[in-house]
């Protein structure tokens, strides 16, 4: 599985990627990843490419990612160079995340949304990796998104 995670510095892109990697490792799968951070820190583009159970290098050729996860919607055009399957969070989901959990837990809420919408990992795997408060935030995201998934047709834009 080839994943690309894109966002801005300060959004917790690296944290998000680390949790995804940890889930794969917990399932006994191997992970290769690469992190590219530009010169700017807060607000600068952060790009993580991650291969799970495949390859020798962490790099993913343009157009070949199985899923591109966008933490920042304005990176969509760039994200599409990696693959057509883009997962972005809707404004409503992000708004809800900020309402329901403190800012530092927004990431794990969105992780819940991600796993509800796209089952790249089992929910149980996530629960094993997260600590207590992150677990709660994750579950909130997961449950909120699950309700939505049933009413929506197709989870990708």
């Amino acid at each position: 599985m080839k994943l690309v995670i894109l966002g801005k510095g300060g959004q917790g892109v690296l944290f998000f990627s680390k949790i995804l990697a940890q889930m794969a490792l917990n399932e006994g799968r191997s992970v290769k990843a690469t992190e590219i951070k530009g010169m700017a820190k807060k607000g600068g583009v952060v790009e993580v490419q991650m291969k799970i159970d495949e390859g020798l290098s962490p790099l993913i050729k343009r157009g070949e990612a199985d899923l591109v996860i966008l933490l920042s919607p304005d990176l969509e055009e760039y994200g599409k160079t990696f693959g057509q399957k883009i997962l972005k969070f809707t404004e409503e989901e992000i708004k809800k995340a900020f309402e329901k959990v403190p800012q530092r837990l927004v990431n794990t809420y969105l992780l819940g949304v991600l796993l509800a919408r796209h089952k790249i990992f089992d929910k149980k795997t996530a629960l094993k990796v997260l600590d207590e408060e992150n677990k709660k935030s994750f579950l909130k995201g997961y449950e909120d998104a699950e309700k939505n998934v049933q009413s929506q047709d197709g989870d990708f834009t």
């Binding site: 300060g10 940890q22 990843a33 700017a40 807060k42 607000g43 290098s57 962490p58 050729k61 160079t81």
Partner: protein
């Protein structure tokens, strides 16, 4: 005990070095090498072995310190980025001649691309120049294994070893098995213990040119012996041979398997691309070298590659580029390449003290002043017109000195400013300032002091009072250095105090008109990218008065805070509250006074 850990290449190198017995490790931060030393510090805290692991003031000093530790019989290593090795070239070449006593490894991280460097230079060629064997890992796991292997070879052949990594290895991550065994090796530095044989030792420790010739000969013999043993590893069986080393090997394996070229291509992987022994490879139809970023194996084995235009002469050899080379060889059909849209250019962080300080500088000195910039976050001030040159570490002050001197010789009045960070100043800004003082060159020296090495991930500077182990350190005061040199205008301001900053800069401007010495303004504000800096940062929340904002975009182009954006529908500037840290600096910027502090 064997353990499976998810590590970056840099973390893996730290594990390899420390497990291999390194007890003196130093370096200077530089992307993508910076995480090796902090990881080793964590291991030292965890396993409590004796030794020294901390930053040096620059790469030259770092390499000299580590090498002398090796001469005391302590296994040592030094880390830096590729342009840092340029700073350390003098001791690097010398170390090969003199030869270490205990293992001595120079870890250098190259940056093909480049992603965050001035050059794409290939440190394997620096190793060749210095006659230092170089290991070039292809995976994170190899980075760990080669760190240990480098130490072993260094000790066996009494020669320095270079461990060359690249951004994709250093910042790549992978689950690898480490032994995490840190034997409490005997830590027993010794030097000049045996006076009887000291004269023999002196023949290499303090060799005169005549003896250097002998040392050179001995070095060549070591290289020949190593080359004799250094054999490539072969993979697959085809009649096109590709020689390779480093991360490119991993890309090639993936591409060969993806396109089922196992019968078309043979791969020869050099774990150690120097020294090698010439061989002909005449049984193959074509022999090509794919390596980052300059021809090395290609030259030794006289193969196809960059010299016949098959391989691009610049840029990273990404999997896409390798794939294109395969289609040029007629192995696979040509693929349409995907155009990559440009990303938004990087900016200083919201709330960064450098931004408001440099804005004040622009305000007082005007855009006609010559702003000689340097290497650090503040390079980004070129986005809003307060940096005219970016060259290499310390060059801001050499440039400012020479440029100002030229105009003075011509008796032409020009205002020249050298802008340098605290860490960069200590790294290599002091020597040019000595010349500026000596030759009576009145330029303005701005030291942006955020008390950290910001751009590379907030490593400590010599201004710190406590080490990572909680031991006391002597803090180095930059103002004392400046006063000690003989500057009599040395002022320290917090750029968040905008009025005071303007005042001091105006005084400096007046001073320079009548003085024949450089004058210095230290703008001191902690980096807001550190946890501590952010927590203690003043809170001055602002609001934008919509009726006053004319949408002139002055703040966006002249101040460029990422938290300010132009709202197309209202045609006004707005604040992105997810990025804003309430520093309140933008209230001093708006010419229409539309940004106001919200008083509690």
């Amino acid at each position: 005990m064997l353990k499976r850990l998810y590590l970056s290449g840099n973390e893996a190198i730290a594990y390899g070095l420390i497990e291999g017995g390194v007890r003196f490790l130093t370096g200077y931060p530089g992307t993508p090498s910076s995480e090796i030393l902090p990881t080793a510090q964590k291991l030292k805290l965890r396993y409590k072995f004796k030794g020294f692991i901390d930053w040096a003031v620059n790469e030259k000093v770092a390499l000299e310190m580590a090498f002398s530790a090796s001469l005391c019989g302590v296994k040592s290593a030094v880390t830096m980025k590729q342009v840092g090795l340029n700073v350390a070239m003098d001791p690097f070449l010398n170390a090969a001649y003199v030869g270490p006593k205990a293992s001595f490894v120079v870890v250098v991280a190259d940056d093909p691309g480049p992603h965050s460097s001035q050059t794409e230079q290939d440190s394997r060629l620096a190793a060749y120049l210095a006659k230092v064997p170089v290991l070039d890992p292809s995976t994170v796991e190899e980075a760990y294994l080669f760190a240990k292997k480098a130490l072993e070879l260094s000790s066996e052949f009494e020669i320095p070893l270079m461990l060359r990594t690249t951004t994709r290895i250093s910042h790549g991550k992978s689950d690898i098995v480490v032994s995490e065994e840190f034997p409490q090796e005997e830590f027993n530095p010794s030097f000049k213990e045996n006076l009887k044989n000291w004269n023999i030792e002196l023949q290499r420790l303090a060799a005169t040119p005549k003896l250097r010739h002998l040392l050179h000969k001995r070095l060549n013999e070591k290289l020949d012996a190593l080359a004799e043993r250094n054999k490539p590893r072969f993979f697959y069986q085809g009649d096109i041979l590709i020689l390779t080393s480093g991360i490119v090997f991993s890309y090639l394996v993936e591409l060969i398997e993806e396109h089922q070229l196992e019968n078309k291509i043979t791969l020869a992987k050099f774990d150690m691309p120097f020294p090698v022994k010439y061989q002909k490879f005449s049984e193959f139809k074509r022999v090509i070298t794919l390596e980052e970023t300059s021809p090395l194996l290609e030259l030794f084995f006289d193969t196809e590659g960059r010299r016949n235009g098959l391989v691009p002469k610049e840029g990273e050899l990404t999997p896409e580029v390798c794939e294109k080379i395969f289609s040029r060889l007629g192995l696979i059909p040509e693929k349409k390449s995907i155009a990559i849209p440009p990303l938004k250019r990087p900016s200083l962080c919201p709330g960064c003290g450098h931004r408001i300080g440099l804005f004040a500088l622009k305000k007082v000195f005007g855009k006609k002043a010559i702003f000689c910039g340097d290497i650090g976050c503040y390079t980004l001030a070129l986005n809003f017109g307060v940096t005219d040159t970016v060259f290499c570490m310390g060059a801001s002050l050499s440039f400012a000195t020479a440029i100002k001197k030229l105009f003075d010789e011509k008796e032409k009045q020009r205002e020249v400013v050298g802008i340098i960070g605290d860490s960069t100043f200590l790294h290599s800004g002091i020597p040019p300032l000595i010349d500026a003082y000596h030759y009576r060159v009145p330029f303005l020296l701005i030291i942006l002091d955020n008390e950290t090495v910001g751009m590379t991930g907030n490593q400590k500077t010599p201004a710190h009072r406590v080490s990572y182990e909680g031991k006391p350190l002597n803090p180095v005061k930059i103002e004392k250095i400046l006063e000690g040199l003989g500057l009599d205008f040395v002022k320290v301001v917090d750029p968040y105090d905008y009025k005071e900053t303007l005042q001091v800069l105006k005084e400096a401007k007046e001073y320079l008109k009548i003085s024949d010495k450089p004058c210095a303004v230290i703008m001191r504000h902690p980096c807001v990218y550190t946890r501590e800096g952010l927590l203690n940062n003043p809170k001055r929340p602002v609001q934008i008065l919509e009726e006053k904002c004319t949408g002139c975009k002055f703040c966006l182009s002249e101040f460029e805070c990422p938290a300010l954006y132009f709202d197309e529908s209202s045609e006004k500037v707005c604040i992105d509250k997810t990025l804003c840290i309430d520093c309140g600096c933008c209230q001093f910027v708006c010419p229409k006074k539309a940004i106001l502090e919200v008083k509690a």
